[in-house]
């Protein structure tokens, strides 16, 4: 094979990395480059430096060290039996690329992952070497996210956590059966064991830092994971339950969902299967309901269709919940407690906080609510305000056509 230059390698290894949904650069400690000999800073809140036409944020240089792999996971484009072009970066090439991009303000930092070559330990050593060189040789203070390998030596994984802001291990599939079928060389026990080890390291070092200021930081932006949606038999109910158990057991910052596009071993006449993007979107919405709106996992599951276990695709899960549990509405916007206001379809966390502050001074009418929300039409059937009571709307047996988005709009989002 002819020697590839950096640009050709980048083409292959960025292409191979795009199936990882995460590009977040948030949640870490504040750092500056002042007083150092290098560059880089972090703000706590991440920055998206560009957006691709797929609507995704480009915050980090997201690449694989190599897309060669000794594993043969069926859902993965880089599996051993796939015939994609292979390439491999040296650690120094990644370091130079990261710095060149960072200096031009293209990125917040690096998200490095890799196919497994030779052995898990060898691969992990290479990943850690990139992070070490950036931090130690170049005093780089930007964001680093490292994907760690569950089977690697715990000492190597620990080093990764010392250099990185965030570490992650993908659980890959929501069900054990799915993992067994699609990633036969991976094991749920090993993946979860590694996540548990990571959690205790994060807690231990955070604890040490409260007592010794000089104690080293360990992955200050925590750990995250990703699972593929639509490749195994898991229902939305199964996925929501699994995600909440992962959040709880391993102290995860985020669970990412990646809509799976089946890549059939088929003739060219077989049309392509588009990834189930709307399903992925609904799962993210339910994730937000649990993280910011105080919904219990079983409540999100209750918003799903009881016979299929699937969340509706045409309306969001919050609206689905409200339509299913109509007895809670309408809520008096001037009296209802915060946790109930958060359940009103169309009211976000910011709007609810603004309502709570404003109503300390006066009673709020519908026009006040309109100034605090994007669409008062969506909120109206579910609230009582000064001079407003939705009698006609709330009594209608079928409220859904009044509040659900129109079909044409849905198609637009689904495209």
């Amino acid at each position: 094979m002819a020697q590839l230059d950096t640009r050709q390698k980048l083409e292959i290894l960025a292409d191979a990395a795009k199936y990882d949904a995460s590009c977040s650069s948030s949640g870490t400690t504040k750092r500056k480059s002042a007083g150092g000999k290098g560059i880089g800073s972090t703000e706590g809140m991440g920055i998206c430096h560009a957006y691709a036409p797929d609507g995704r944020c480009i915050s980090l240089l997201k690449i694989l060290l190599t897309n060669s792999c000794i594993f043969d996971c069926h859902y993965c484009i880089n599996r051993k039996s796939s015939n994609v072009r292979r390439a491999r970066f040296t650690a120094q090439e990644v370091v130079q690329l990261t710095l060149a991009f960072y200096k031009r303000n293209y990125i917040e930092g690096l998200f490095l992952s890799s196919g497994i070559i030779r052995s898990s330990n060898y691969t992990m050593e290479q990943i850690v070497e990139v992070a070490r060189s950036l931090r130690e040789d170049h005093d780089f203070r930007g964001y680093i996210h490292l994907k760690t390998i569950p089977d690697a030596d715990p000492e190597l994984v620990h080093q990764a956590g010392l250099y990185a802001d965030r570490v992650s291990i993908n659980v890959e599939l929501p069900t054990t059966g799915g993992l067994k079928r699609l990633a036969p060389e991976k094991s749920e026990t090993r993946i979860e064991g590694a996540m548990a080890g990571m959690k205790s390291a994060i807690i231990d070092t955070a604890d040490a830092r409260t007592r010794y200021r000089s104690a080293p930081r360990f992955a200050p932006a925590g750990q995250s994971t990703q699972m593929i949606v639509g490749a195994d038999a898991a229902t939305d109910g199964d996925i929501v339950t699994r995600a909440s158990s992962l959040y709880g057991r391993f102290g995860l910052r985020r669970v990412y969902y990646s809509a799976f596009s089946p890549i059939p071993d088929a003739s060219a006449v077989l049309p392509l299967q588009r990834p189930p993007l709307m399903r992925e979107h609904r799962l993210y919405q339910s994730d937000w309901l649990m993280r910011f709106y105080g919904y219990q996992p079983r409540e999100v599951v209750a918003a799903a269709d009881p016979s299929t276990g699937m969340l509706p695709l045409d309306i969001d899960p919050k609206l689905a919940w409200a339509l299913r549990f109509r007895e809670h509405f309408p809520l008096d916007i001037n009296r209802a407690p915060r946790e109930m206001l958060l359940r009103v379809p169309g009211l976000g966390v910011k709007a609810v906080n603004a309502i709570l502050r404003a109503r300390r001074w006066r009673r709020l009418g519908l026009d006040d609510v309109a100034r605090l929300t994007v669409s008062v039409a969506k909120v109206r059937p579910f609230i009582v305000a000064e001079g407003w009571r939705p009698v006609a709307l709330a009594d209608k047996l079928d409220l859904k056509p009044l509040v659900a988005p129109r079909r044409e709009q849905l198609e637009l989002f689904a495209a």
């Binding site: 640009r7 960025a14 997201k62 039996s81 796939s82 059966g177 038999a233 404003a358 300390r360 001074w361």
Partner: protein
């Protein structure tokens, strides 16, 4: 009219000092003309403001000060007067700073939000180009902000690019950092910035490669990266061709990986069947004995989809082995089709029944159950890839097409399925068992065989 002259468009301190005096003198907001630099804002304003030297001190909340700092940076010429009006109101009712539903408060909040967004977008979308000189590496950026935010953002860039020498040029103001001190200069033009940077080609390669053409969402991109920022971002030159070529790249993506799964379908089918054995996607798994998965060669050109396993299938764990299965086998033989060469499965993989005494009576699966189980049928069809799929009865037709089908209307002719292959709809063999009139039963049976024969003939073309 009174005139207040501020030194710069983002002169917060100047505004604060003047506002303090104006509020102390209870001057209404409408009587003040705010002027930036030497530019007269209003020809009729002619009275210089008279500031009382010892204005009584008053306190406003931290929230208002923060709000005012942001609002002052906005381009709207009314901003100073709006803040003044808000301040007068807060003197009377300090708590009203919390009332976001108040129209004036809301307007100021929207102004502050636009400023915060502009600040953030400058940090995100500014691009440096290398302009190294005899002293070494140096970087220069050209940026056109919407509001007066450049001075505010200086700290961010100093903190981030501390060990680097750089300049940020904007139409109103330029910033220069030499690694040690920050210097302000006058406004510049695009021509003062370097024309290009070889690294931009590498960056564009990254931008094109990280984009997933299977997930095109142009609206989401435009919402966060509006066109007004594009002219100073090198990668946006690619957007048009990336969108236009998305479909072709999607096809290529799938072509690249296509041959790789080959030869593996037997193993994949066995793994799929094993996973299906533990299926709990709908409540039918509870009373049923076992999952009854499809069977037949995984490279079959013809697939039959029935309704659901019956009493005997549920116990045997194989599809079409009971009475309906015998009718089916006989009809296949008469139509000249070898059952060993076709793949046979069911739309619903668990037996649904009502217990009556000792007998388990077949119950029709509901739409929810059909849709829950559809996932398995789709996986089977993805693996087997039959050229023709025959739906036996309404349940199978629903599973295959996703809609409710009237058998009488659509039977006996090829229909196009969503994946581009052909489908065929006919009755379920159990329908033949339920006909009591012997002559009619024979007629229907012959029609069923005819359907199978015609379907099979499609494959010979």
């Amino acid at each position: 009219m009174r005139i207040v002259a501020l030194t710069a468009p983002d002169d917060f301190d100047g505004w604060r000092d003047a506002a303090r005096a104006l509020v102390a003198a209870r001057v209404p907001a409408g009587e003040v003309v705010w002027q930036v630099g030497d530019v007269p804002a209003d020809l009729f304003g002619d009275e210089a403001v008279d500031l009382p030297p010892d204005a009584p001190a008053f306190a406003v909340s931290r929230r208002f000060v923060d709000l005012a700092r942001s609002v002052v940076m906005h381009a709207d010429p009314e901003r100073f007067a709006l803040l003044h009006a808000m301040l007068l109101r807060l003197i009377e009712q300090p708590g009203r700073i919390e009332d976001m539903a108040d129209p004036l408060r809301r307007r100021l909040e929207d102004i502050a939000k636009a400023v915060r967004r502009d600040i953030h977008k400058m940090r995100a979308f500014l691009r440096f180009r290398e302009a190294s000189d005899e002293q070494g590496e140096r970087f220069v950026a050209w940026f056109e902000p919407e509001h007066h935010i450049v001075r505010h953002n200086a700290r961010f860039f100093v903190d981030r690019f501390n060990a680097m020498r750089w300049s940020i040029l904007t139409p109103e103001l330029s910033l220069h950092w030499d690694g040690d001190t920050l210097r302000e200069g006058p406004g510049a033009s695009r021509a003062d910035a370097p024309e290009g940077d070889p690294t931009e080609a590498v960056w564009k390669t990254y931008y094109a490669s990280i984009f997933n053409p299977a997930r095109l969402k142009v609206g989401a991109m435009l919402k966060e990266m509006p066109r007004k920022y594009w002219k100073n971002m090198p990668e946006t030159a690619l957007v048009g061709e990336l969108i236009a070529g998305a479909r072709a790249r999607e096809v290529a993506m799938i072509d690249t990986v296509k041959p790789a799964t080959g030869g593996n379908s037997e193993a994949a089918w066995a793994a799929l069947r094993e996973e299906a054995m533990g299926c709990t996607r709908c409540p039918l798994h509870r009373p049923a004995t076992q999952t009854v998965f499809g069977e037949g060669p995984v490279d079959a050109a013809l697939m039959f989809v029935g309704e659901q396993p019956g009493d005997q299938e549920d116990l045997a764990g194989r599809p079409f082995v009971g009475p309906a299965g015998q009718v089916f086998d006989a009809a296949l033989a008469e139509a000249g089709i070898d059952r060993a060469g076709v793949y046979v499965t069911n739309a619903v993989k668990h037996f649904k029944f009502e217990q009556r005494g000792k007998r388990r009576i077949h119950a029709k699966p509901g739409v929810g159950e059909i849709d829950a189980c559809r996932w398995w049928v789709e996986q089977e069809r993805l693996l087997v890839r039959p050229r023709l799929t025959v739906a036996l009865g309404a349940t199978a037709a629903r599973s295959l097409t996703g809609r409710t089908v009237t058998i009488g209307k659509e039977r006996g002719r090829p229909i196009a399925l969503a994946d581009g292959t052909q489908g065929w709809i006919t009755v379920h063999p159990s329908f033949l068992l339920r006909i009591t009139d012997a002559a009619q039963a024979e007629d229907e049976r012959a029609r069923f065989v005819e359907d199978l024969r015609n379907a099979h003939a499609l494959l010979q073309d």
